[in-house]
C-alpha cells in the first residue's frame, strides 16, 4: 500500500503539483482552506476569487468555481457575486499588497459594510511576484528591493496591522483572525469559523495568514521558519481578534487562540 499525501477533496488533482515556489506558504494556506471547504461540505457553493501577485497562481487550484483579477479588486468582484446570488459562499484570496495597499479601500469598505464574504489575506511581508518590493507589512529593518537598507519606520512607517484594523472598523457580527502557516490545525479552524460566519449570514469574515517567501526573503529552510515563527509574530500576534457572540467558543473551548 502506497501512502499518498492527504489532499483536500476540494483541490483539483489535475492542477497539482501546484505552481508555487518550494517553501512558499500559499500551498499550506490553501490546504487549510481546502480542508475547511471539505469539512463544511460547501464545495458546490463556494466561489473562489484570487488576486494578482502569487495568489493568482491559484486560479485553477480548486475544484470550485474560481475567478481571478488584480489589485485587491477580488473583494468587490466577490461582493458583486454574493450580492447577486447570496446562496453562494464567496471567498476573496489575496496578498498583503492587494489588501492593504492598492486595494485597501475595498477591504476597508467591504468590512465596513459587513459584506457576507470571507477575505483571506496572505501576509509574507513583501510583494513577491513583482520581485520582492516593500509592502505595508514589511518589518522594520527588513531588506527588500525597494528598501535595500532595511525598512526605516521613520521614513515609511510601521508594519500594517490588517486584522486589528478590520476588527476596529467592523461591527459585532464580523469574524477576524490572524493565523499562520506554521499552525495548520489552528489555521484550518479559523477558516472554518470564517466561512461559517458567512454561511450563517452573520457578516464579514477576515483571516490574515502569516506566510513564507523564501525566494524573496533569500532564506534557507531554517531561516525561513525562524522568520515566520520568531520575527513575524513579534509584530503580528496570531489568534482570533473578533468572534461574534453567536458563533460561540471554538472547539478548544477558548474564545481566542493565541
Amino acid at each position: 500500500m502506497t501512502v499518498k499525501p492527504a489532499m483536500p477533496e476540494s483541490w483539483r488533482l489535475e492542477t497539482k503539483p501546484h505552481k508555487f515556489c518550494p517553501g512558499c506558504g500559499h500551498g499550506i494556506a490553501l490546504r487549510a482552506l481546502g480542508q475547511a471547504i471539505d469539512e463544511l461540505g460547501i464545495q458546490d457553493r463556494v466561489v473562489f476569487g484570487c488576486d494578482i501577485g502569487c495568489s493568482l497562481l491559484a486560479w485553477d487550484f480548486f475544484n470550485v468555481d474560481s475567478v481571478q483579477t488584480h489589485h485587491g479588486r477580488t473583494t468587490p468582484v466577490v461582493t458583486g457575486i454574493k450580492r447577486a446570488n447570496p446562496e453562494l459562499i464567496c471567498v476573496a484570496y489575496m496578498g498583503d499588497g492587494g489588501g492593504y495597499a492598492i486595494g485597501a479601500q475595498h477591504l476597508v469598505n467591504a468590512a465596513g459594510r459587513n459584506e457576507r464574504i470571507t477575505v483571506i489575506l496572505a501576509n509574507n511581508t513583501q510583494y513577491a511576484m513583482t520581485g520582492g518590493q516593500m509592502a505595508p507589512t514589511t518589518l522594520p529593518g527588513q531588506k527588500t528591493e525597494t528598501s535595500p537598507y532595511g525598512r526605516d519606520p521613520e521614513a515609511t512607517g510601521h508594519p500594517a496591522k490588517g486584522p486589528e484594523m478590520v476588527a476596529a472598523i467592523t461591527g459585532e457580527d464580523a469574524y477576524v483572525a490572524r493565523g499562520t502557516v506554521s499552525k495548520l490545525p489552528q489555521l484550518r479552524r479559523m477558516m472554518v469559523r470564517a466561512l461559517q460566519n458567512q454561511i450563517e449570514g452573520r457578516g464579514f469574515s477576515f483571516v490574515e495568514v502569516l506566510s513564507t517567501c523564501p525566494t524573496n526573503w533569500r532564506t534557507n529552510a531554517k531561516d525561513t521558519w525562524e522568520f515566520l515563527e520568531k520575527k513575524m509574530p513579534a509584530h503580528f500576534r496570531t489568534g482570533e481578534l473578533k468572534v461574534p457572540a453567536a458563533a460561540g467558543k471554538d472547539e478548544d473551548g477558548k474564545k481566542a487562540v493565541h
Binding site: D65, R73, P76
Partner: protein, 367 residues
Amino acid sequence: MSGAVMAEKRVFMTGNEVVAWAAVAARADVMYGYPITPQNEVMHYWTRLAPKHGKIFLQTEDELSAGFATIGGVLAGKKCFTATAGPGNVLMQEPVSMAEMMRLPVVVVVMQRGGPSTATVIYSQQEVTLTTFGGNGEGFRVVYSTAGLQELYDHTIKAFNTAWRYRFPVFVLADGYQAKMREPLTVYDPVERGIEPVAPEPYVGRPGKPGADRPPGHYRNTYNTEEELYAVVLEQAAEYERVAPEIVEHEESGAEGAAVLVVAHGVVARAAKQAVELLRAEGLKAGYFRPVTLRPLPAEALRTAAGRAGRLLVVESAYGQFARLVRDALYGLTVDVVPLYKPGLGITAEEIASRCRELAASSARTE
C-alpha cells in the same frame, strides 16, 4: 420575467431617469454604482424603483469597486450595469478591461462631463477616446452615442441585448446635457414590441459539484506566455470584426453631392441635423452624417458618404477626439476635413450653419 414591466406611455423626464427606467425595461437585475455628477440621479431613480421591481443596488466605495462588483454580478448570472462620468470613467476602464479580456457582458452608462480631471460637472464630449479605446487593451467594446432621450431609452435597452448577445462590454455614451435635460419620449416594454431580452447565464454557481458533476468554472484574465495571450487577443479581434457589421449603426441625410457634409455624434448631432435642414432650406447643399456606434465605427458608410461630399465639417464638444476616429476611417480619401471643436461647450445649430455658410462661400470663391 414575463409580463409587461411598464405600459407604453408618453413621458416627460430627465435622461438619468430614462436610464433607470430603460434598465428596468431591459430586465436588468442589479446596479452597482458610485456617486459622480452628472449621473447621480440614475442611482437615485434606480434605488426608488428597485424595491418595486425586486432589483438590487449597492453603493460601492469607488468606481473601481462599482465596475468589479458589476463583473461579479454578471458572473453570478445577473444582468448588471453601472453608470459613471469623467474621473469615474477613468477608473471604470480598469474593470471594463477585465470584462473585455474575459468577454463578459457588462453595461456602462457614461454621462460625459468636462475634462481633463475634475474640470466641469456639466457637459462635454471629451470621453470619446477613453470610452472607445480606454484601458490597456484593444478597445473591443461597443459604444452607442445617443442624441436624445428617446434614443437614450432605446439604446440603453439595446445595450443589454448587445452585451449579452455578443459578450463584449457595452457603453451607452451620453452626456451631462442628456442626463439633466427633460424632454418628451415614449417608454415601453421592449417585449411588447417584440424585442426579447437575451437571458443571462451564470458563470459561477451552476448546479452540481464542480469536479464531480461538472467541470469547475475557472475564469482568469492572466496568461503565462506571449503566444498564449496573442492567440486569445487575435481570437477576440476576429470575433469583434465578425460581429461588427451586425452592430454598427449610423444616420445620414443628403450626403450625396453635399458641398459640406456635417459629421457629428451624440447630442451635437441634433444641432448638426437642424443646421443642415436650415441650410438646405436656404438652398445650400449640406449633408449630415452621424455614427450612432462610435465602436465599432460605421467606417464603410462614412467613407461612402464622404466620397460623395465636397468637404467634411467635423463638429464636436471636444478637441478632435471624435475627428480622430473619423480621419482614421477616412484614411486614403482626399476629402478635406474641417474641424469645429468646442471642448466642453455646447454647440448650437446656428453656429454650425454659419460655419457651413463660410465654407460654402470660400469654396465658391476658389472655384
